[in-house]
């Protein structure tokens, strides 16, 4: 059976109407996907428990592209076909690329098209298509984890992205088959993750030091909306530069002369990265690296030495902060909070420098690598409508459930009570009889299972349903309650689009006392209602069977059945009619199985006769084509 998630009070989704939404941090170095499950926004890991997806795509001739860790591992061996940091190329025209081309290991296609394409052994691809591969991998992970298809996503982009770069990101999502609810600025997403959107108005700084890029943004929160006052940073400054700083220290201290070997460079950087990470919690770490043939070099590295080595990088981040504040015409004292984003902000020296500069402790409670994706997931959850009590201004609830009458005088709830408005919920129904061309829709209110015990709000008819077999038509009934509590009900036959609708004001004339009485009644009658529902459901089943079998007998009974066979079916049918008139659920259920058994042979013969009719007069070759 489907696995269920815990919902907020009153927010359990209708079956098959769970609205799955996710937040995507489409990063330069790494990307993540996050979603709200069981009331908590969290990033979604892959099968190996890894949350990050390296933003690396490798194209191979004759194969589908590889995305993520395995592509990253191959990037050193196959640089021309492995695209890294594609985000830097998003929305860039041929002219922009010419400037970057010397720094990139890729070959660009010569063409008239304004969109530059990277030539790989599997063909030429634009930055949009490469990004789409990353998004597809995240989409697959999200859909597998959440157990359904994603209805919408929020994708984050840097605050400085221009319209072209934003449009390119949207196009990539379209190529990946994702519906973009909204593009969200990365610093805003981080602020939302920390819940700053629900705090006092004021100015906030988001300090985002990633693997290869540094962004600082100054935001102003005004009436629940974040406005970007200024952005700054350095597109080639990040945690990787700290790794290079440590690698340089290893080269100097060990006296290594020749570092032209690529494998050695890789080993140096890997050891440097490991040393950087362990210095987050420890004051000293032992650096071990194989230099030269089999020679292992070991030397302790203290945090003090590390800090000294990265100090020029730290100062560059602070210079960018100073400039951004100046652009926003603010002093450090005007900043309410500083949010830390990006893996490199785990480095203690960075936190200390930011603390000293802004004169306040920066916010670091949420994993800095995941915080942007988490904020995007929170926003997606609100936009898809799973959390109407969050950002919606009007907070009103429906006092009693709204439903529709179904066969047998039963109520099918469409909108449960205590749902916040505005709200729209739809459900599909079908026809009960062959050739049925109209349907009467009875709108009711209340908590009871029986129409007779509920309050009738309105009735209307949907006409013009094309004649079809019972159960083949699809009638979509939509209940919509607007912010003023006005209910409109629409019934639409989905094939032809024939529709009919009505408006009612459901709470009209109901006092609180009446509502309370209706609620209490439903609890007191719970057991009776359950029994009545079971009985009515069986009766509906019985009627359907009697009708269907009656029609079949009228058509084929005389030709396919002997007199005695016919008599035994008639007897079973008569027994069912009698049981149908009584009020024993089991008796009706048994009588239905009895009719099923008595008519099984008849049904089989009808099937055979039908096939014979279909094949009659056809040659063998014609039949094969069927």
């Amino acid at each position: 059976m489907a696995l269920l998630q815990l919902s907020e009070p009153g927010q359990t989704p209708m079956p098959h109407q769970r609205r799955l939404a996710a937040g995507i941090d489409l990063g330069t170095t790494n990307s993540l996907i996050a979603a709200v499950r069981n009331g908590i926004a969290e990033t979604l890991p892959d099968e190996s428990g890894r949350h990050l997806l390296p933003s690396v795509v490798q194209y191979r001739g004759g194969h589908s592209p590889i995305v993520g860790y395995s592509a990253k591992e191959r990037s050193a061996r196959d640089p021309a076909n492995t695209i890294v940091s594609v985000k830097r190329l998003m929305g860039r025209g041929v002219n922009d690329i010419v400037k970057l081309a010397n720094q990139l290991p890729y070959q660009f296609q010569d063409s008239e098209s304004p969109v530059p394409r990277i030539v790989t052994e599997a063909g030429a691809y634009s930055a949009i298509e490469v990004s789409a591969e990353i998004l597809k991998a995240l989409k697959a992970r999200g859909e597998e984890t959440l157990g359904g298809s994603l209805e919408g996503v929020v994708i984050t982009v840097p605050a400085y992205f221009d319209d072209g770069q934003r449009q390119a990101t949207k196009d990539a999502a379209k190529v990946a088959g994702l519906n973009v609810l909204r593009l969200l600025n990365e610093p805003t997403a981080a602020a939302i993750a920390f819940g700053l959107d629900r705090q006092a108005e004021g100015n906030y700084v988001v300090f985002d030091l990633g693997g290869g890029t540094f962004d600082v943004s100054v935001l102003r929160l005004n009436r629940g909306v974040f406005e970007v006052l200024a952005t700054g940073g350095d597109s080639s400054l990040g945690g990787d530069d700290m790794d290079h700083a440590i690698a340089d220290w290893i080269i100097e201290t060990s006296g290594t002369k020749d570092v032209s070997d690529r494998t050695l460079q890789r080993r140096l950087l890997n050891s440097a990265c490991a040393a950087k990470e362990s210095l987050t919690d420890q004051a000293t770490t032992l650096v071990e690296v194989e230099i030269g043939s089999g020679r292992i070099w070991r030397e302790p590295l203290t945090r003090a030495v590390f800090n000294e080595r990265i100090e020029p990088l730290v100062q560059r981040t602070l210079t960018a902060c100073r400039r951004a504040l100046r652009d926003a015409s603010l002093e450090t004292a005007d900043v309410r909070e500083v949010v830390m984003v990006g893996g490199a902000t785990r480095v203690p020296r960075i936190r200390e420098a930011v603390h000293d500069y802004f004169g306040r402790v920066p916010l670091t409670d949420i994993d800095p690598e995941k915080v942007v994706a988490i904020g995007a997931a929170l926003q997606a959850d609100i936009l898809i409508g799973n959390k109407p009590d969050s950002d919606m201004l009007l907070l009103d609830v429906i006092p009693l459930s709204l439903g529709v009458e179904t066969m047998g005088g039963l109520v099918e709830q469409i909108i449960p009570r205590n749902t916040t408005i505005p709200v729209a919920r739809a459900q599909e129904f079908t026809t009960y009889k062959d050739g049925q061309t109209a349907m009467s829709i009875h709108v009711v209110q209340g908590e009871r299972d029986l129409v007779s015990a509920s309050r009738s709000l309105a009735r209307f008819e949907l006409r013009g349903i094309p004649p079809m077999a019972a159960g083949a038509a699809r009638i979509r009934i939509t209940y919509q309650v607007d912010a003023d509590g006005l209910l409109s009900v629409t019934a639409m036959e989905t094939k032809t689009g024939t529709a009919s609708s009505i408006q009612v004001k459901p709470s009209y004339g109901l006092s609180d006392v009446e509502i309370e009485t209706m609620l209490r009644d439903s609890y007191e009658h719970a057991r009776d209602d359950a029994g009545a529902r079971a009985l009515l459901e069986q009766q509906v089943d019985a009627d359907r069977l009697v009708d269907a079998l009656g029609a079949a007998l009228a058509e084929d009974g005389a030709t396919l059945l002997s007199v005695s066979e016919r008599a035994s079916i008639d007897a079973a049918l008569q027994a069912l009619r009698t049981a149908r008139g009584g009020n024993s659920v089991d008796a009706i259920r048994n009588a239905i199985s009895e009719v099923d058994r008595a008519s099984a042979e008849f049904a089989a013969r009808r099937m055979n006769a039908g096939i014979k009719r279909a094949l009659a007069g056809k040659s063998l070759s014609e039949v094969k084509e069927l």
């Binding site: 059976m1 489907a2 696995l3 269920l4 998630q5 815990l6 919902s7 907020e8 009070p9 009153g10 927010q11 359990t12 209708m14 079956p15 098959h16 499950r37 069981n38 009331g39 908590i40 979604l44 892959d46 099968e47 992970r141 597998e144 984890t145 959440l146 157990g147 459930s401 439903g403 039963l410 109520v411 099918e412 709830q413 469409i414 449960p416 459900q427 908590e447 299972d449 609620l519 209490r520 439903s522 609890y523 719970a526 057991r527 209602d529 359950a530 529902r533 079971a534 459901e537």
Partner: protein
């Protein structure tokens, strides 16, 4: 009348309640809907209604309204993992038929 939780389900509920930062327990319920009659409700609880019945198992409060209890008596709530997907499962002895997707059922 009883409603219970497996160890795994209890651990998850407790951790979700802690992370959420508020709430006194979980609400189990049913409502009429779906392709096969009734559908499950599984929610955090902030306020208990005066009509509600409260059960306690593994230190977790389980809140059920009297109307739903008729359909849920004897149910055990479990937490399961299927590939990357994970979530709660109702082991409900009252269920006779389930729709293919398992989101709704009849008793």
């Amino acid at each position: 009348m009883s409603i219970t939780l497996t160890d795994r389900a209890a651990d998850r509920v407790k951790s979700f309640l802690t992370k959420r930062g508020k709430g006194i327990g979980v609400r189990l319920g049913v409502r009429s809907s779906g392709c096969s009659g009734l559908a499950y409700v599984l929610e955090f609880v902030d306020d208990v209604d005066s009509h509600d019945q409260i059960f306690e198992d593994h230190g977790v409060k389980i809140i059920v309204d009297p109307k739903s209890l008729v359909y849920l008596d004897g149910t055990e709530l479990d937490f399961a993992r299927e590939g990357l997907n994970e979530g709660f499962k109702f082991n409900n002895p009252n269920v006779k038929n389930m729709c293919g997707c398992g989101e709704s059922f009849t008793v």
